[in-house]
């Protein structure tokens, strides 16, 4: 199994090296490939066991880092997986965030509460408005067929159906308006969490 992986890795490295082969000739590409392959192998074994599951390691892609930088440059090995801690920004190193503390912070609580204050009534409203149409049309088709004098042949049912389009527009407009304040609060929570590691006293 490790042998297989090693081979796979070294093949990949050589493929990547191909375009810059002439530049790398001075150092000797063959040896370099082995060195990199070994490093890769090592990283796979030591760092690919993220503590919190899938999301901690955000990028397991093929490494797209260009091959022109100095050999000593650590980041050359990969942007994926574990960057040495001194190179990480707080944003990248998610483990510095104390999630429970962020969750308990007053800003975050305000965010969740204000979202709920809008989203719950809005959801109840649009579902009620929509299913009222279906119930009335389904159970009282005769009543819904009555026409409105100044609209000629157009009946209540059709006007109510068209009003659903207006309702969708209004709810969307209201949400977009509210969401501005959600975005501002969320940005504040994010920057606080990243600058203090979530350890700010609430």
């Amino acid at each position: 199994m490790p042998g297989g992986r090693l081979q796979g890795q070294s093949r990949m490295v050589s493929a990547q090296n191909a375009p810059s082969k002439t530049d790398g000739d001075v150092v000797g590409p063959g040896r370099l490939q082995w060195f990199e392959a070994l490093l890769r192998l090592k990283r796979c074994q030591t760092t690919h066991a993220p503590r919190g599951g899938l999301y901690r390691v955000s990028n397991k892609d093929l490494d797209l880092t260009t091959e022109v930088s100095a050999e000593t440059d650590v980041s050359r090995i990969g942007r994926s997986g574990a960057t040495p801690s001194h190179e990480r920004t707080a944003d990248e190193d998610l483990n510095v965030v104390d999630w429970d503390r962020v969750a308990a912070s007053s800003d975050f609580e305000t965010l969740v509460k204000s979202k709920a204050r809008f989203l719950i009534p809005a959801t109840i409203f649009f579902l009620t408005y929509y299913f009222t149409l279906l119930v009335l049309v389904g159970f009282f088709p005769e009543m819904m067929s009555s026409t409105i004098s100044w609209l000629g042949p157009v009946n209540v049912a059709y006007v109510f159906a068209l009003s659903q389009f207006v309702m969708v527009g209004l709810v969307t407009w209201a949400y977009l308006r509210e969401a501005k304040s959600f975005d501002a609060l969320a940005a504040k929570v994010r920057s606080d969490a990243l600058s203090t590691g979530g350890n700010k006293k609430p």
């Binding site: 992986r5 796979g8 890795q9 990949m12 690919h48 919190g52 599951g53 899938l54 999301y55 955000s58 990028n59 397991k60 892609d61 093929l62 490494d63 797209l64 944003d91 998610l94 965030v97 999630w99 429970d100 962020v102 969750a103 308990a104 975050f108 965010l111 969740v112 989203l119 959801t123 649009f126 579902l127 929509y130 299913f131 149409l133 279906l134 049309v137 389904g138 159970f139 088709p141 067929s145 000629g152 042949p153 157009v154 009946n155 049912a157 059709y158 159906a161 659903q164 389009f165 309702m167 969708v168 527009g169 709810v171 969307t172 977009l176 969401a179 969320a186 929570v189 994010r190 969490a193």
Partner: protein, 523 residues
Amino acid sequence: MTAALWLFLTFVAFTLLITWWSARQSKGANAYFAAGRRIKAWQNGLAIAGDYMSAASFLGIAGLIAFKGYDGFMYSVGFLVAYLTVLLIVAEPLRNSGKFTMADVLAYRLKARPVRAMAALSTLIVTIFYMIAQMVGAGSLVKLLLPGVSYELAVIGVGVLMIIYVVFGGMLATTWVQITKAILLLAGSAMLSVMVMAQFGYSFGNFFEAVSHVTWIDPKTGQEVTQNFLQPGLAFKGTWGAIDLISLGLALVLGTAGLPHILIRFYTVPDAKTARLSVVWAMLAIGAFYLMTTFFGFGAATLLTPANIPDQNMSAPLLALHLGGDIFFAFISAVAFATILAVVAGLTISASTSFAHDFYTNVIHHGRERSAGEEVRVARIAAFVVGATAILLAIGLRSTNVAFLVGLAFAVAASANLPPIVLALFWKRFNTAGACWGLGVGLVSSIVLILLSPSIMGTDGNALIAGEPIFPLRNPGIVSVPLGFAAAIIGALLSRESSAEEKFAEFTVRANTGLGAEKAAAN
């Protein structure tokens, strides 16, 4: 007829160009599965619209309105209102807490393997059913539009194209095929609507006056029929009809937010705010389109009358022939093909992503790629297999009426997918058992109820199963959605999972703030 072929070939050439361009750009999993998360809001909005407005919407609803009037328009309303669920409940938290698939949101704080296995199964079932409906539709359409092209050739053509888009171009190519199709469909519908209104001197008064008194001679009985197409109750009759209508509404309004191919579109944008704006763009496009169904649906009813439409699904193309002659007919037919292609491409990438990311990498290999790029490689193979399977099934089911498969896809999405997503997002106490129960019961109940419904069972010769339908409704939503929710809640209450509850704080912070969300690829 050849004009339709040329227009369609132009569209195909253009989409292949898009695919070639995307293939040159696509590198790595984020690029392949999520278009590098760099799609703009308006682009993703149009792509969602292109992913969503299937042949069932364009041809199906036009036909329903032409034959059943107001009741057909109920589909239009439901398809749009459904986006409020997507906008308010699902889009942003999904973008913030997931990576490539619907299951990501469930697997975040639950046990990844069982949940992902179930979610992948549900995704595959929804997408393959939906895809077969589209492809059988494509084959039948070709038979009517291009008498020279056989059903098999049409199905294989559609299948091969969707495989090419997805295998070579990934999400980026799929996105642009969908955007192109959405623009074509909106343009075609707008032209058709304006031409209909021109017949009534651009007067809504005249138009609705005509819609309320349509007279034609019934070809079967030879009697004159006058019908008010604005009158509700032509399709959904009586008490069972009313319940069926409500059941349909439930499946549409809750199902859209559980359709895997719609959900994965939110991973293609840089952040939650863009996801929100892209829903709004999608709603503009979708709302405009479904409003226009009034004009071309009722237009077909009044200008052609049901007596002159031999096949309900051909209402829109026949109306185009009536109003704009051969060239316009060719254009509308080409638009209908483009519609099918874009939707099946979206379904294929959704199915293959779920297989590669959820099932192969996370269930079988515990979340690790054994070699770099493996997940993308597996997804490409899966896309090929899914495409080939869909071609074979569509050819095998050629003479079957498969319209119910779209309804089934929405029912499964609403009853199996949505309950676990909503509960995982908002209920701390939710856990793995609840998700698996919800997915399982939702899936089984909607499939079984459809099998027992009038869509499958019937006493006339056309039914797939002979016999009186055991379940009276065509749409199982009103029973299966509550069953799905109940199973998810009961399953969760019957077991305790401390790890899921402990991670709830982290999950809500991520879902609400976007802290630690997947980033867009650098330019």
